[in-house]
Symmetry: C2
């Protein structure tokens, strides 16, 4: 009889043969665990944590690869452990490879439910010659009489549907009320759905949430289709400034992405976008402005101010998005031109303003926003880390798609790697690029200043530039290969330097040193997949014990979900935006110096 195995937080579950390992079970259930060594137990990457049930005894390989803390916490290597009963496992983000490479996972939402929308079931009698009240009046009267709810407005788009709807439903309906406004009417037993969206420069993550329970019913990520107009926010803005038509097209692409998410997410649970009565969108200030088609020119001209920083509530239709008839879109506040609502959402979800010690939180992306909480006092910076960690501007860089090398290590002169989907390697995605940089640095192939040694058997000169051939034949320049070039290293140093500078500026502003940091929270898609040790090795992250690091996945998306189900959280977000001390890096006295220093590799 097969055991029942459940993988959290992904929620994949099913029966699995007792003779297979947990890794086999994961593959059967479509949970793509990282496995560089192909299940030999040597790479130690397929860690899972036992939450419930019994597994086969620990193997010597596991005792070797797992730390005492990990063993204590129930961590196992999936390739070494066999189920002995039904089991429930937690998969840490770093053990995952392909699933949802647009990274929608994040912490579970656990806030007191306090949604903007209230629902009321109404039972009306049809109009007659003795009762000629209009359909709208009849609905408002039913709300008043049956629930004591005073409805001040009925949304105009809802009014366009009200008469046939009430007749089709036999004068029974469910009204969705927001601040006294009736924004939707639905059949009696319609579910109460909300949509949370993290609109990133590169990726868009959507979450369909049950407003009654706070549960995330479905989530999905996709690429931001605006990418055709430029990879980073500056190039997008430049493009939007070229013509009003282009700005319009870019808005439409973002709206279509959200519409597509709402369509696909609701389809999965047998609902429609018309059932979505509330939505929250977070994004950086540029994405926020481009979505709403707000002016962006002042974002790229000193002193880089947003058109709008306060939280907004607009009708979804005002950006051409079709949800429930009168549904609103809530946008969390922005902090500055380059510190947006997504950063506020991260701070919200991590409860940084309640932090007791010193917490550093980074949302690594094309732009990296960093917040330092010093016993709740918050400061933030934004650094242009660039798209190198998204695989761009790197010779063999690529996005996190099938065939991308996402884990890599150097054992002697041998390169061990794992690709997404276990496909033949075609390039390096962000985490692979970082691994390569760190491994080459640790092996002495790259020195402190980033210069590549030319005497390694895998290093060759190609078009006057040294490059390290990771895969392929170093001696044959024309054969297919995957390499890291000297130029790639420089790009990565710029990215690493930008982040390091941001962290230093924050620490200095609070009179702290790196060792004072009690916890480092790493949010975002790329941050979820990186190898922390390697990030420390190159000096991108502060040199601290590994247990002080926490990779939280899409914290901005989690913050958006919290705001979706809680008015109190929306109010908290407004407070956060006010309390954060924004530090403009350009205004820091020794910025150039600091940045130059920050580009050196090493802890």
């Amino acid at each position: 009889m097969p055991h029942h195995i459940e993988f959290e937080p992904i929620g994949r579950r099913g029966p699995c043969a007792a003779e297979g390992t947990l890794l086999d079970a994961a593959r059967e259930l479509g949970v793509d665990l990282v496995s560089l060594c192909g299940g030999q137990g040597t790479c130690g990457r397929c860690k899972v944590q036992l939450l419930e049930g019994q597994l086969s005894p620990l193997t010597p390989m596991e005792r070797e690869r797992l730390s005492p803390q990990e063993l204590q916490a129930g961590y196992r290597l999936a390739c070494c452990a066999y189920p002995r009963s039904d089991v429930k496992l937690a998969v840490p983000p770093e053990s995952l490879s392909t699933p949802q490479r647009t990274q929608v996972e994040g912490q579970a939402v656990s806030v007191a439910l306090d949604p903007m929308i209230q629902y009321y079931q109404l039972q009306m009698s049809p109009p007659s010659l003795n009762d000629l009240a209009s359909d709208a009046r009849r609905t408002a009267d039913a709300l008043e009489q049956q629930h004591g709810v005073h409805c001040t407005t009925i949304d105009i788009a809802l009014l366009r549907d009200i008469s046939p709807a009430l007749r089709d439903w036999g004068w029974r309906a469910q009204a969705a009320i927001r601040n006294g406004e009736c924004i939707a009417l639905h059949p009696w037993d319609t579910r109460h759905l909300g949509l949370a969206v993290d609109l990133g420069t590169t990726k868009v993550a959507g979450y369909l949430v049950d407003l009654d329970t706070g549960d995330t019913l479905a989530s999905q990520g996709l690429m931001n289709p605006q990418i055709a107009y430029g990879e980073d926010v500056i190039s997008r803005i430049t493009c939007a400034l070229e013509s009003s038509e282009k700005a319009g097209e870019m808005q439409q692409l973002a709206v279509e992405a959200i519409a597509l998410l709402s369509e696909e997410l609701t389809t999965r649970i047998g609902a429609t976008p018309n059932d979505i009565v509330d939505a929250v969108v977070v994004g950086n200030t540029a994405m926020h402005h481009l979505l709403l088609r707000l002016p962006v020119e002042q974002l790229v001209r000193a002193p880089y101010v947003p058109a709008v920083s306060s939280a907004l509530d607009i009708k979804a239709r005002d950006i051409g998005l079709c949800l429930a008839q009168g549904a609103y879109l809530h946008l969390l506040p922005n902090i500055a031109g380059y510190v947006g609502a997504d950063h506020v959402a991260m701070i919200l979800s991590m409860e940084l303003w309640k932090a007791e010690g010193t917490v550093l939180a980074l949302d690594i992306g094309t732009n990296t926003e960093i917040c330092l909480s010093n016993h709740g006092a918050l400061s933030s910076v934004s650094c242009a880390s660039g798209p190198a960690f998204e695989g761009a501007h790197i010779k063999h860089g690529m996005r996190a798609a099938a065939g991308a090398i996402e884990r890599l290590r150097l054992v002697g002169d041998e390169v061990q790697y794992h690709t997404i989907g276990a496909s033949p390697p075609v390039g390096l995605c962000g985490s692979g690029v970082l691994d390569a940089l760190a491994q080459l640095y640790l092996a002495g192939v790259i020195d402190h200043s980033g210069r590549m040694a030319k005497d390694h058997p895998r290093v060759r000169i190609n078009k006057g530039q040294p490059e390290f051939v990771l895969i392929g034949e170093p001696d044959d320049v024309d054969s297919p290969c995957i390499a890291i070039t000297q130029h790639d290293v420089r790009e990565l140093q710029l990215a690493k330097g930008a982040m390091h500078t941001g962290i230093q500026v924050l620490l200095e502003a609070h009179g702290l040193s790196g060792q004072d940091i009690d916890e480092v929270i790493i949010a975002g898609a790329f941050g979820s997949y990186i190898d922390i040790s390697n990030a420390i090795a190159v000096g991108m992250l502060p040199s601290l014990p590994l247990e002080r690091f926490r990779q939280v996945g899409n914290a901005a998306g989690t913050g958006a979900r919290m705001a979706l189900v809680s008015r109190a959280q929306r109010a908290e977000a407004v407070q956060i935006a006010r309390r954060v001390r924004y530090i403009e890096l350009a205004s820091v006295a020794n910025f150039q110096n600091l940045f130059a220093q920050s580009m050196y590799l090493g802890e």
Copy 2:
């Protein structure tokens, strides 16, 4: 030296030669006075009232044609009187022929100004590295600090313009605030404009109003372009029900008509529609619903209820209308499926709920709504008077355009007439049709039951049907002519009967008779041009002394203007809609009988 002559309420003025009559002066200034007799003094239609200045002495003809009351009140015949100084004259509506045949004139608005929108001039300092507030925050702060105004929201469409606007204007702007929402920013010295619209089934009247003074700066009428989809509300609704596309097209046509008015009206004063910060639209329930694209099927199915009856405030953009960025459209409440916001506006402008005696108010159109105020207790009915008085369904009927016979009388066997624009006659408009019916009835050509005598020299049989040849050769059936047919008479009887029935039902509901009516107010385009005596003669209006009648022009438009400049008037309109007792004619016990009786001609 020429005298200066001024015609009120049209506002035409200019110098005129002393040797010409007032009629000559009117023609020179483009004031189209009715003159059936061609200035002979015999038709007595070119009445004007002397307000200021001196005229030549009364002629015997004037003493004969004008009543003692009229003489007392300073009335003269324009064709008989010569200016003896600068003069100011009032032209009663019935003396006017062509000007503004879409009838936008109405009473002047004299309510306490209390507009929805307040204006504040702001002076801001530009952002700097030490002051990174967003443009929206800067604007809100300026409102708070410079005027103590707390701005809770800035409209999203306004936000789309805010950044370049503030920079272009050197950080000086004027904010338009509505209930704490900033709906528009304008340059420092922009005028404060509002738009009032009476959206009739046949005609659309627009008024551009100065919100600071309440003055109507410009007004204009045009045909409702929806007319291509049907002449009356039933055919329009039928058409809208055929397909969603058609309903969409009809909405768009109505919106385009309002957009055209806003464009032309603002152009006249050197402004643009973007300067219009508030708008009020009134119309019958069908026009209201078609404009907003609300459901209409229930309007044509018993018991004929509106989708919405309450007053509405929607963003102008929600129907695709471009005014100031965040401008709202206010729609006065409807009373019933066939008694709409235009009726409420008429009651509002006529202050019927304050009436001390018994006042009957009719807004005559394709649909005629009638309100009876019995010492302020209001009852209303709606009667399907049909488009006969708009010139439709009448053999030689036509709209009130150049060449339409608008005044007509029978002197012996001779037909005297006046056409619009003094053009060669091509047909009969509503007032001409009514005159013809009355004159033929008074001359005994048509009897009480509406049957046409066949022995009159101008009556002939054409295709088996008697017809009275008004213009042309009765003996030559093939020559061009203008005639009233037996069938036309039947159509007119239906219209007359509908109105008479409505009046009777109202009187009976209050236990009154026609003679109890202290005042009859006649509103609407057609009602402004009709000859009251003739309307009484055929029994369309109650047989009362002429001085009890008041032709007020477009009372609905006046009500719309009142609501535009006054929140108190909007609140009053809501109260009116609640207080009116609506009587559905179909539910009146002896309706069929009463209607049949009402079709008989005569007082």
